[in-house]
Every structure is written in C-alpha cells, then in structure tokens.
C-alpha cells in the first residue's frame, strides 16, 4: 500500500481485450508498415522543441507521431549528500528515465521499476561521452526524462537520447557534440501470398520470407520483430557513443543496421540543429 498517494482499489487489472474473429489484426504481411506509408528506412516525422520547462536550466520536448517525451536538465549544481562519495575532479551526469503511468498500453506504476532503471543507465552511458564533465568538478548535471506516450520501446529510448541531448545543449552545458539516436527492428517479412514480390535484393535463401530492417518501428511493428538495435551517435565527430542490440540477427544484418541507423541519425541531427538554432532566434525576440 502506497500511503503517500490517494489510495485506489488493490488488485485492479486491465480488462481482457477480445478481437472479433472476422477482423484480422495487423501483421507484417498485410501491408508494408503499420499505419503509415513509410518505407523500411523511413523514420517518423519529428517535432522537437526546446524550452518548455521554465524552471529548468534546459529542456526539450520531442514527438514522433504518437511517441511523446519531455526532458528537463538541471545543473551543474551541487551534488547531493548521497552523491558525495569523495572529491572528484570531474562532474557527474545523472539521468533518470520515467514512464508516465498512462503512457503504455498497460498501466505502469508510479515507482521506478527495473526497466526504467536500466533505461536510465543506457541514457547516461549514451550521453556522458559527449558532455565535457571535466569542466565542472564537484558538480552534477541531472537529466530527467518523462515518457508521456510510448509507441515502440526501442524508438522511445532513441527519442529520449535525442531529446536529452538537445536539452543539455539548451542548458548551455559544454559538449563535444550533440548525440542523435535511432532504432531499427529486424523483421522477417513473409512473401506475400497474393504474390506481389517486392525488390528481391534481400531475399533469403529460404525464399519464403525476407529479412528487413525497419527503422524507428512503432509498437505494433515491434510486436513482430525478431530483435532490435538502438544506436547513439555523434554526427559531426562521426563517433558512436552507445549501441544496444537484442534479439536474433545475422552479423551482416547487424552491420547493415548500424549503417542504416547512422544514416537516420544524420537526418535527426538536422532536426536537432534546427530546433536549437530556433531557440536562439526565439530568445532574441523575447
């Protein structure tokens, strides 16, 4: 029982969802990609804006269609007592990743769970190489990310990295480069029964299906994936800061996915640049 919140019923569960038999659910063979006319290499359109949290030193908000994430950056500020292990000549980057309770299909809990803790760590590992921590000894920069709506977990993590990196730059924290991130899903797309064979460049030996990499997969597509990759990348320095790969894929597919992610990150970088430069001009007019 959480006594610091308004108490609700215990053992509340989501109702069982029953799909009518005559109505087929989306599957990779039905149409190419879920609910959009995207090509495998296409990412969703990005809306990225800085400065929505006026109490924070820096902030950013990102939207990729349904995926919605807000990020606030505080610092550099004095380390809290719990973070005071010893004198350190370098600053600390502290990231906290949280899903809003209503952001996923199943209701999430208020208290941070293991998955959120893990994602916090990934976020921190992906961003830290880009931040010039040696310039603020004894201090900490706190990065807080809240997911308001999650439409694909890997895509969500990638968007969070992108968003947090823009928020850091917005806070005036010295960085080596921005960090753009993108996700890709390994899909096994069956050959269409009705026979509309698509380009056969990637057709596998089995002949019945093809392996494809779908960039920035949404939740429905993610349900059918064999695995996924999230790659964080510093575009101007051409350096990768983090790769998170899971599931099953051939080595060649993985190296191809890295290429595709880097390509997508370069597109995202343009959006990031644009939103930051926009913040300068907006700041000027105010």
């Amino acid at each position: 029982m959480d006594r610091k919140r308004v108490a609700g019923p215990e053992n509340a569960v989501a109702p069982l969802v029953e799909y009518p038999k005559d109505q087929l659910r989306w599957a990779p063979q039905q149409e190419h990609r879920h609910s959009s006319k995207r090509q495998p290499e296409d990412i969703r359109p990005i809306y990225l804006k800085t400065g929505l949290i006026n109490q924070a030193n820096g902030s950013a908000y990102i939207e990729l269609e349904r995926t919605k994430i807000a990020c606030g950056v505080y610092g550099p500020r004095q380390k809290k007592a719990s973070q005071l292990s010893s004198f350190s000549g370098k600053g600390t980057l502290n990231c906290e990743f949280k899903f809003a309770t209503f952001s996923c299909q199943k209701r999430r809990h208020h208290i941070r769970d293991a998955q959120e803790r893990e994602l916090s760590q990934v976020l921190s590992q992906a961003l830290a190489p880009a931040v010039r921590l040696e310039l603020f000894p004894k201090s900490v920069v706190d990065v807080y990310v809240t997911v308001l709506e999650n439409d694909g977990l890997a895509a969500c993590l990638a968007a969070a990295i992108t968003c947090a990196s823009v928020a850091l730059a917005h806070a005036g924290i010295e960085m080596l480069d921005l960090v753009a991130a993108c996700s890709g899903s390994y899909m096994t797309v069956p050959r269409n029964a009705l026979g509309q064979p698509q380009t056969d460049a990637t057709t596998t030996a089995a002949g019945a299906s093809r392996d494809e990499i779908w960039m920035d997969a949404d939740l429905e597509e993610e349900k059918h994936e064999d695995g996924s990759i999230v790659l964080a990348y510093m575009p101007s320095l051409n350096q990768v800061t983090h790769v998170l790969q899971n599931g099953r894929a051939e080595g060649a597919v993985i190296s191809q996915s890295v290429e595709s992610c880097i390509e997508a990150c370069n597109k995202i970088y343009a959006v990031m640049q644009h939103s930051l430069l926009e913040s300068i001009t907006n700041g000027k007019t105010q």
């Binding site: 030193n57 820096g58 505080y74 610092g75 550099p76 500020r77 004095q78 005071l84 292990s85 010893s86 004198f87 350190s88 880009a130 010039r132 603020f136 000894p137 004894k138 201090s139 730059a169 917005h170 806070a171 005036g172 924290i173 010295e174 960085m175 080596l176 480069d177 921005l178 510093m234 575009p235 101007s236 320095l237 990031m272 640049q273 930051l276 430069l277 913040s279 300068i280 001009t281 700041g283």
Partner: protein
C-alpha cells in the same frame, strides 16, 4: 576587433587550429576547432596575436558555478568558533540557480591578526557577504576568503530586525535602535 558570425550548435566544425586560437565555448579535436555550446560564433582579433581567437558566445547561459578567484555573493547559514558556513548565491554578478555550499574559516576572515579573529564578531547567520573563492575545498564546500578591504559583510540585519549600515571596517550600526554590532564589513567599491 570582434566580428559576430553565424549561430552554431555543439559539435559544429568552426575552423582549422592553424588559423584560429580556441576561445571560450570551443574546443580543439585533432586538427580542427569545434563549438561546444549553442551560440553565436565570434572571431576576435587582438593586436599582437598571430592568430584571431574563435569563440562561441552562449545564448542559453549555463548556470554560474564557482571557480577559483571568482568573487561570489553568499548568505551566512550558520557560524561556529572555527568557520562560517555560507550558501553561494551569485558568482561574478551572475545568480546561480541552486546554492553551492562554502565555508569561510577563521584564518581567512581578514589579512592581519588572523589568530585573534572571532567568527561570531565577524559574521552572523543571515548576513550577505562578498567573498572570493580560494580553493575548491573539500568534497562538500568551497573555501572562501574575505581578507581584502572590499570583501566582507555587505548587508546585514540587527538583532532588533533593523538594517545595518557600516560605520567602520569592523562595526555596523542598526538604523532602528542605533545599536552597534561587530562585523567584518566590506568597503563599498
């Protein structure tokens, strides 16, 4: 001579190390200079330098953090016979969003007769003090000093609640009750 050029973002390549000197808001990596903050690219040419300095003026200023030799404005939080604890609120005229902790040890209060300093006759909780950062200190606090004429208490409240005005470098008077209280005062600049 300074010329303002285009707006840049972190990571943007600004020029070659052989052409420019890296100024604030930039860093050099291999043979090139890059921006490390969001802002406007500036090229400053000073006489005598063989190369112009390239810098990026921050648009979204990072919050101020104390650095060695910086002049800070702080509020006294508590005092004990050895030192006064303070919250650093302003660094070089720029407010910091969150407080940083600092201490003024009794030997750093003034330049002369250091062993006769009584903290309680120099600072009281609530005083606003101008001080200089002398070291990054220990894990928790920055070490500060007021051992210069223009450093010390710049604003204080008397026991009766009135505003204090300095009458000498070690005394202040309450405007309400005319009671004199000891302080290490800062000389107005």
């Amino acid at each position: 001579m300074t010329s303002v050029m285009s707006a840049v973002v972190p990571g943007q390549r600004l020029g070659h190390v052989q052409e420019y000197i890296a100024g604030p808001g930039t860093y050099s990596h291999q043979d090139f200079l890059y921006a490390s903050v969001v802002g406007l690219k500036q090229v400053t040419t000073a006489d005598g330098d063989e190369r112009p300095t390239l810098s990026v003026a921050r648009e979204n200023t990072q919050t101020a953090i104390p650095e060695i030799d910086a002049i800070v404005t702080c509020k006294v939080v508590r005092v004990n016979p050895k030192f006064a604890s303070v919250n650093i609120m302003v660094v070089d005229g720029k407010p910091c969003t969150d407080n940083f902790q600092g201490i003024i040890r009794s030997q750093d209060v003034r330049a002369t007769e250091k062993d006769k300093v009584k903290i309680y006759n120099s600072f009281r909780p609530g005083d606003i003090v101008r001080a200089q950062v002398i070291s990054l200190g220990d894990a928790r606090s920055y070490y500060l000093s007021t051992a210069l004429n223009e450093l010390g208490v710049i604003y204080g409240t008397s026991i009766a609640g009135g505003t204090l005005v300095p009458i000498s470098w070690q005394e202040m008077q309450c405007t309400k009750t005319k009671v004199i209280e000891p302080r290490k005062c800062a000389k107005p600049m």
